[in-house]
Amino acid sequence: MSTLKVDTLQTTGGAGLYPARAWVNLNGTGTVAIRADGNVSSITDVSTGQYDTNFSSAMSDINYSCAIGTYLADVGVPTPYQFNLSTTSVRLYSYREDTNVYADTSTFCANIIR
């Protein structure tokens, strides 16, 4: 296996490329589990509909972008939101607007870009 180490990525035309620094696809129902991830050392099942994603390697600051999405079978799409807790983790929330409660979600995906 070889590793590519560069400071910046660009297209041949010179446009910048910004790959994800971390990503996770987790199942928040039942016994919470990680389906797949990159640069994630663990997740923490904090409470109903609340999950911390802990990064293997810390971000340089907290001004990273976190793109998120959720899905819960039978209900549809609970509103996902996130809070950039620190350079080492981000907290993900899944909230049902129809019942005004946090809800566990069968699929929660997050992509962190910096």
Partner: protein, 130 residues
Amino acid sequence: MSSYRVIFEDPDQPEAPAMVLVPSDNWLEEAKAGLLPPISVYWVLQDDEQQAIAEGRHDTFKHDQEKHAAQWTAPRIGPLTEEEAIEYLVMKDIPRHIWSQEYNRPMFKIVKTEDVPSDRSFRNAWRIAA
């Protein structure tokens, strides 16, 4: 999939339910392959960030470049067993005040994955017994 989970409580939030730490399989493979830096690399970063939070400058905080790069440049600690890796993970991903201080009852426990109840309401009622 890892055989272990870590149940922990935060003494600063006595009403909150017990939390469950779930290790990443990818990270565990790295730990077993000996690709992790010394845990002190992460503690230095955590300390610097906590200081920034205490001083009210978290929004503009940026890690020192050399300390940040140590995550990749520091000498690797060598292969860990799964049990050693979980202990490393406790010290990396669980807030330090939970595992480094003594309380009148345990605040965290490493348990077998199958011992974690899948029912949320049951899990939320959990407290770690002595």
